[in-house]
């Protein structure tokens, strides 16, 4: 690790006052400490914000607010989450290990970096790690890489499970800046596509910190599912994952949500398939047709063609599981 100065902030504005180009913030540390050990993150000063950010889950007029410092385990065990937003708990429990979930924060989950092997291997070129150095994954080992939304500069995927559920539920990210001003960013606008600037993962303003996540009340609590396909049964990143949620009335789909992890640089919404499902009868034929719509324009890399039929199966399975049969 590169030497750094360490300090602790007990309030968000105090933490924000320390923000500059060489400062980084640490909460759970499950990703950042690792990146620092590998010299991928090299902050000159590190600010501990575990006591600066809100750590509560609160019911609001419109729905729920999850503080940025709420750790994964209490988030997945929270009574309100389980009763009204169970998709969140399902996604969280599909990720990492119990130890890591005890440490990892909600805000940090949004800001975690890709797990592309070339991003972690500092001896290889990587446009995300060093802008303009080239992408090693495109001609290289890319079975974990993206199948949609990528560019000729980066084919990395976002590793989070929680974010897939948050994207499906149309959450928003409340950020606070140095002047104390807060703004809400729609979840699907928070993370970026790589384009020509793959070094930037998200649209968090340079002078701001994530304060909390807001989710509006919805009718998806009864019929939702999270399916994650990976190389081993537990404690592995997704090859593909699907968050599905249905609002059903007498087996007719009033509204549907479908999002995926492991397929793109950001949690990916299958909007066209969602539109198709609206008004249809919930059955296997409908689900297969929706899955076909989702996969129709995907383009795999040299080593991950398997992801496309795998995704189709995962979408159908997730929609089927929504019916709780």
């Amino acid at each position: 690790m590169r030497p750094f100065l360490f300090s602790k902030s007990s309030a968000i504005n105090q933490a924000l006052a320390k923000k500059n180009g060489t400062t980084q913030y640490i909460a759970g540390g499950t990703n950042l400490v690792d990146l620092m050990k590998k010299h991928i993150a090299e902050p000159e000063s590190l600010v501990d914000i575990t006591s600066a950010l809100p750590a509560k889950i609160e019911v609001t007029a419109k729905g729920i607010q999850i503080g940025a410092m709420v750790r994964n385990t209490p988030l997945a065990n929270d009574a309100i989450i389980l009763a009204k937003y169970p998709l969140i708990a399902k996604a969280v429990l599909a990720g990492a290990s119990p130890q890591i979930r005890n440490m990892a924060s909600t805000g940090g989950n949004l800001l975690q970096r890709t797990r592309c092997p070339y991003f972690y291997d500092v001896t290889t070129p990587c446009n995300k790690r060093k802008a303009g150095s080239g992408c090693s994954a495109i001609p290289g080992e890319n079975r974990m890489s993206a199948i949609v939304g990528y560019s000729d500069q980066c084919i990395a995927v976002h590793p989070s499970d929680l974010c897939v559920a948050l994207a499906a539920l149309d959450a928003s990210v409340k950020v606070q800046d140095k002047s104390g001003k807060t703004q809400s960013i729609a979840f699907t606008d928070f993370h970026r596509l790589p384009g020509t600037t793959p070094e930037r993962d998200n649209n968090l303003p340079a002078n701001a910190l994530i304060h909390s996540i807001e989710i509006n009340e919805n009718a998806f609590a009864k019929n939702c599912a999270y399916v994650k396909v990976r190389d081993r049964d537990s404690y592995a990143f997704a090859l593909v994952s699907v968050a599905a949620a249905l609002n059903l009335k007498d087996n007719q789909i009033v509204e549907a949500r479908l999002a995926s992890g492991g397929v793109a640089h950001k949690p990916w919404r299958w909007l066209e398939a969602e539109q198709y499902l609206k008004g249809k009868t919930a059955n296997a034929a409908t689900f297969e047709a929706a899955a076909d719509i989702a996969i129709k324009d995907l383009r795999a890399q040299s080593h991950n063609g398997f992801k496309i039929p795998m995704l189709k199966g995962a979408i159908e399975t997730a929609l089927q599981q929504c019916l709780n049969r």
Partner: protein
Amino acid sequence: MKQEYNFSRRFFLKTSSALGALAFIPKGVKAFYEEVKNFIVPKKEQLPLTVSINKKSYAIKADTRTTLLDLLREDLNLTGAKKGCDHGQCGACTVHIDGERALSCLTLAAMVPGKEVTTIEGLANGDKLHPMQEAFIECDGFQCGYCTPGQIMSAVACVKEGHTKSVAEIKEFMSGNLCRCGAYNGIVESIQKVAAK
């Protein structure tokens, strides 16, 4: 006996004049050199930390980069927690922080003051082993033993959390601890045994 010195007259003149010249370098140049040095070699910061490990308080100075795992193993000689991968992938370094299992290799020591850390060394009651330690011996919950301290700390938490309703649930909630010997069946048995008590 007269001692032979191997310094030549040439060496003496060269070094003494170099040292003499150094003394005459203006302060500004020296300050500039310091600035360049500080720019290239980042400053190391030593933090005074008071940490509580196994209900014992330690006052210690540590570099900001020190992880809890290194603090335990290198500074406090508590070598029970193991360094397997050092990247949060194997679970060998699992300890309890405020009663919850956590990875000490991804925890900065600077963030531990004010919290209570329990390591495998703090589990037994004097000479009486913790029931989970006894169960691991009885059920052959290990072979080489390297991952065992992490497995046991995780297993104790797994029982406390109540994730022992089925073999599948135990396996899911022990997935953060890898065992290269493959003693998994013995580990699951040990947990079932303690959970049934």
